[in-house]
């Protein structure tokens, strides 16, 4: 028995591939965003819901290696794609160099923007390891943070760049 007949005709079962694992979605309403399904159906609340209209980047994930706002992707549209979320960064709970640098630089305050920034900064530094400061600012300008004024975040990015260049 389904309790919400209101949505039954607009619902479907499908599977998603997230952080290397398969997840089944039972009777998901077709209007659900990838963000909603990650957070509310699959127990992966790392991607955050600050605007749900593509303006803040707090919901950032990688979809087949491309940085997207998961609030603007229909979950059912992500079938067959490789989804990577902040929960999939780092092996077995180990911190990545970017996560470590955020902590050391004091880049975290309330933390709501942080998961999106972690994903975005990894994406940026994988693509452009030597981005200059202005390019870094531009690259993360789609990730709104209301607490930090970005100063410590930029310091964290610069620290990762120095570290990676030296290694």
């Amino acid at each position: 028995m389904t309790r919400h007949d209101t949505l039954r005709e607009e619902s479907v079962a499908y599977g998603l591939h997230i952080n290397g694992r398969d997840h089944a979605v039972q009777a998901g309403w077709l209007g659900e965003s990838l963000l909603y399904v990650l957070r509310e159906r699959l127990g992966l609340p790392g991607a955050k819901n600050a605007c749900e209209q593509g303006e803040c980047g707090s919901c950032s994930v990688l979809l087949d290696g491309v940085l997207v706002c998961s609030c603007c992707v229909l979950a059912a549209d992500a079938v067959g794609s490789d989804v990577r979320t902040v929960e999939g960064m780092g092996d077995d709970g180990e911190l990545t160099d970017v996560q470590q640098a955020f902590l050391e630089a004091g880049a975290v305050q309330c933390g709501f923007c942080i998961p999106g920034l972690i994903v975005a900064v990894h994406d940026l530094l994988d693509r452009r390891p030597d981005a200059d400061e202005l390019s870094v600012r531009e690259a993360i300008s789609g990730n709104l943070c209301r607490c930090t004024g970005y100063g410590r975040i930029l310091a964290a990015v610069a620290a990762v760049q120095r570290e990676r260049a030296g290694a």
Binding site: H4, K48, Q99, Q109, C110, E138, C147, L154
Partner: protein
């Protein structure tokens, strides 16, 4: 990175002269850049914010809000919603079992509107359904018959208008008369009228919470808020429950900045849970968030400054009109601050300040970072620049020569007994190294790459501003804090401390500080933090830059008692007398209890063998007084100061501005975690820059025209200038560790500094913030 920090610290002799005890360092203790205890889960996405809360079988709540700024409700028909499959309950005003209204200071705001709506977005009904989409459709299916009314939208006009609320349109009127303003005139007089638009706190984590009925008539609420206990009391009153039946637990807070002082969904979600007997979760969308919380008061401020030819300020007159919107919220305290700090941090012997906090049909306004000081600072600093121009005195010199010092009197008659390094703040901001930039980089031009300014048109300007405000609550309010600390031996034999305090961690780092204090006081490296909840006494609000002082003091006080009890335990065991002058013969140091004279010591772990030591402490600040009828009285606890210098580039043709650099000197008392202080300063400056050049809730006949991040713009990483901060460390007497709260000063004078810089670059007489492109390009202000 050019963003940086310099620290200017008083010598040890100066510090001890102010009575502040200096303690030895312990790893991760006071004064260190200790790491946040919640940092790892936050970078891994594992930290539980209130919008992440989940319970098996939970329902989704949603609110129906008024589309009108003012209307009479003829009827509400909920049957359409009730008929939808998956809708469990629909509630309106008729379902509120207790007090029909709530409010931070005065319960003047209906839980649900029933006869009239007084602002766009006022809640009218709520539903709980099995899916958020069903809840959305249910809300749409509720039919409300409104008779729209003409909204009252001007605060000054509201004085004589028909009352829009049974309590009238004047929420509070204050008059400050200091000296003999009627008899004094300066040789130079400047005047102006200034306006400030409505700013939004725009925290990232939307209002959200999960209510779980306890099956016994009570409810547990997991919520992001700034003050658990004041929420609890309002929920209990509206639900006709005893306070013990409403238990609140702080759920991860995604920023606050004042917007979470007032109740938003708390009563609604608890009532939905009690009515359905099921857990109910509510999460506002970004649009709903713009309607669901109070904003910063817009203001119109008429000023007249009088000075002597040598630049001595002799009189300030001001009329301040603050638009509180439809309900009182914290308007009474906001207007009190605005009046108290109306002249800025300057000595002035005579003043006549009148302030009105008004009710209108605009969105309700209340607390936001800087609380009343932000508005007046924009005006008094514009006036100081005008005065400097009229006197032909350098604006920095004019400020320095009038700057408040310890011992000076405010216009409220109160003398500053604490430190007041106003001149040091001004010098640090004004003398900071200039910007070394590369002006040829298009991304750095006003407008960025999208609407790039023509390099040849760009003009650079510089401006300086100073501001101040109070720490803690004022006018006789006792905003105490409570903490409990337990010290025991952990599984590995090392001492472990646990702190329980209801202080809301909203991102500012109180959790870090609590650990630092315990490490310093009790030498326990491992410090657990009990979740913040209403199982312990109130910690007061995370606002007014007060938690470092108030809850920091509570944790320190609890640690002191734990230490005393522990020392007593050792003394009892060894037969040592600790009374009277022998009180200090035992000391806790370097992780052991030492006999100061005999030299023996007992490791902490051994002293704790007989079981844990616990203590509670309630920390109160010094008493303050209410104002008398002339607005005089020792109403405030302590004051904090900051100065900013802004460098901007402007394209006057396109009206585009780019803020390039912000330097600041900030009075911090003592930096207990310098890195966290810098984070607060940079974040606060971002909000000040936002207010200066981009942030405004645009109102059209009381209705919000831009309730989204598409249209309400906050600074991005590209908009933020380089920040260079100097921390002025002069310990504040009476403050735990000499530290002052640091969160608010960065947002107070950064805005007027940017506006002054734009005036400097353009020669325009800008009287309103945010400064919009038209204000520059079309000379419209």
């Amino acid at each position: 990175m050019r963003s940086g920090q310099r620290r200017r610290t008083t010598t040890a002799a100066q510090a001890s002269a102010t009575g502040t005890t200096t303690r030895e360092r312990v790893g991760g203790g006071i004064g260190s850049d200790a790491e946040r205890p919640d940092g790892v889960p936050k970078v891994q996405g594992r930290f539980g914010f209130s919008s992440d809360a989940f319970a098996e079988g939970m329902l989704w709540g949603r609110t129906l809000r008024s589309p009108h700024a003012a209307a009479r409700i003829r009827s509400i028909d909920t049957s359409g919603a009730e008929q939808l499959d998956g809708v469990e309950v629909v509630i309106t005003a008729a379902d509120v079992p207790g007090r029909a209204t709530f409010g931070l200071e005065h319960p003047d705001q209906p839980v649900f509107a029933s006869d009239v709506v007084r602002y766009q977005g006022e809640p009218v009904a709520a539903v709980a359904a099995v899916h958020p989409e069903i809840a959305r459709r249910a809300v749409e299916a509720i039919a409300v018959d409104y008779e729209p009314l003409d909204p009252l939208i001007d605060a000054e006009a509201a004085v004589d208008a028909d009352p829009i609320h049974p309590d009238g349109n004047v929420v509070r009127h204050i008059e400050i008369v200091h000296g003999t303003p009627d008899e004094i005139t300066g040789s130079v007089v400047v005047e102006g009228t200034y306006e400030i638009g409505m700013q939004d706190q725009a925290f990232m984590g939307p209002e959200s919470g999960l209510a779980i009925p306890d099956g016994d008539g009570g409810v547990d609420l997991y919520i992001s808020t700034q003050w658990l206990h004041v929420d609890r009391d309002q929920v209990a009153a509206c639900l006709a429950l005893e306070p013990e039946q409403v238990r609140l637990t702080l759920s991860g807070v995604g920023g606050a900045f004042g917007a979470r002082e007032d109740v938003s969904l708390q009563v609604h979600v608890c009532l939905l849970a009690l009515r359905t007997g099921q857990p109910v979760k509510m999460v506002y969308s970004r649009e709903e968030s713009f309607f669901g919380h109070v904003h910063r008061h817009p203001a119109r401020m008429h000023y007249r400054h009088h000075a002597d030819h040598d630049g001595t300020l002799v009189k300030v007159e001001a009329s301040l009109w603050f638009d509180g919107g439809a309900y009182a919220s914290s308007s009474t305290a906001v207007i009190s601050n605005a009046c108290s700090f109306a002249p800025g941090p300057y000595r002035v012997a005579h003043a006549h300040v009148r302030g009105w906090a008004m009710r209108t049909n605009n969105p309700p306004c209340g607390a936001m970072r800087g609380f009343g000081s932000v508005q007046v600072c924009m005006a008094h600093e514009a006036q100081m620049d005008k005065l400097a121009a009229a006197l032909d005195i350098d604006p920095v010199e004019l400020r320095l020569s009038n700057a408040l010092r310890t011992g000076d009197q405010l216009i409220t008659g109160q003398r500053i007994t604490g430190v007041a390094p106003v001149a040091e703040c001004i010098r640090a901001a004004a003398d900071a190294p200039p910007l070394d930039d590369d002006r040829d980089e298009p991304l750095r031009f006003p407008g960025g790459t999208g609407r790039t300014a023509d390099r040849h048109h760009v003009r650079r300007g510089t401006g300086v501003a100073v501001g101040f405000k109070n720490l803690m609550y004022s006018e006789g309010f006792d905003d105490f804090s409570t903490a409990a600390v337990r010290l025991e031996v952990g599984a590995d034999g090392a001492p472990v401390a646990t702190v329980h305090c209801a202080a809301a961690e909203v991102g500012q780092g109180f959790v870090t500080l609590a650990q630092q204090i315990v490490r310093t006081e009790l030498w326990a490296q491992v410090v657990h933090l009990h979740q913040a909840d209403t199982a312990i006494g109130s910690a007061g609000s995370t606002s007014a830059s007060r938690q470092t002082w108030m809850s920091g003091g509570a944790v320190q006080g609890a640690c002191d008692r734990v230490r005393e009890r522990l020392l007593q335990r050792v003394a009892d065991r060894r037969g040592i007398d600790l009374t009277g002058a022998r009180r200090e013969v035992l000391a806790l140091r370097d992780g052991e209890i030492r006999h100061v004279d005999d030299g023996w010591s007992v490791p902490l772990g051994e002293a704790l063998e007989d079981g844990p030591v616990e203590a509670n402490y309630e920390h109160h600040h010094v008493r303050t007084d209410p104002f008398d009828e002339r607005g005089q009285g020792d109403a405030h606890v302590s004051f904090v100061f900051a100065a900013h210098r802004a460098v901007v580039d402007v394209d006057p043709e396109l009206g585009l501005v780019r803020v390039q650099q912000l330097t600041t000197g900030q009075d911090v008392g003592r930096a207990l975690n310098p890195r966290a202080v810098i984070g607060q300063i940079e974040g606060g400056i971002a909000q000040g820059v936002g207010l200066a050049v981009m942030e405004e809730i645009v109102l059209d006949e009381g209705c919000i025209a831009n309730p989204s991040f598409t249209d309400y713009l906050i600074p991005t990483a590209l908009d933020m200038p380089v920040v260079d901060a100097t921390l002025i460390e002069q310990p504040e007497p009476g403050a735990p560790y000499g530290a002052k709260g640091v969160g608010e000063p960065p947002t107070i004078s950064s805005t007027p500094a940017v506006v002054a810089a734009i005036r400097d670059a353009t020669g325009l007489d800008l009287r309103r913030v945010p400064v919009r492109p038209d204000d520059i390009a079309l000379r419209r202000s």
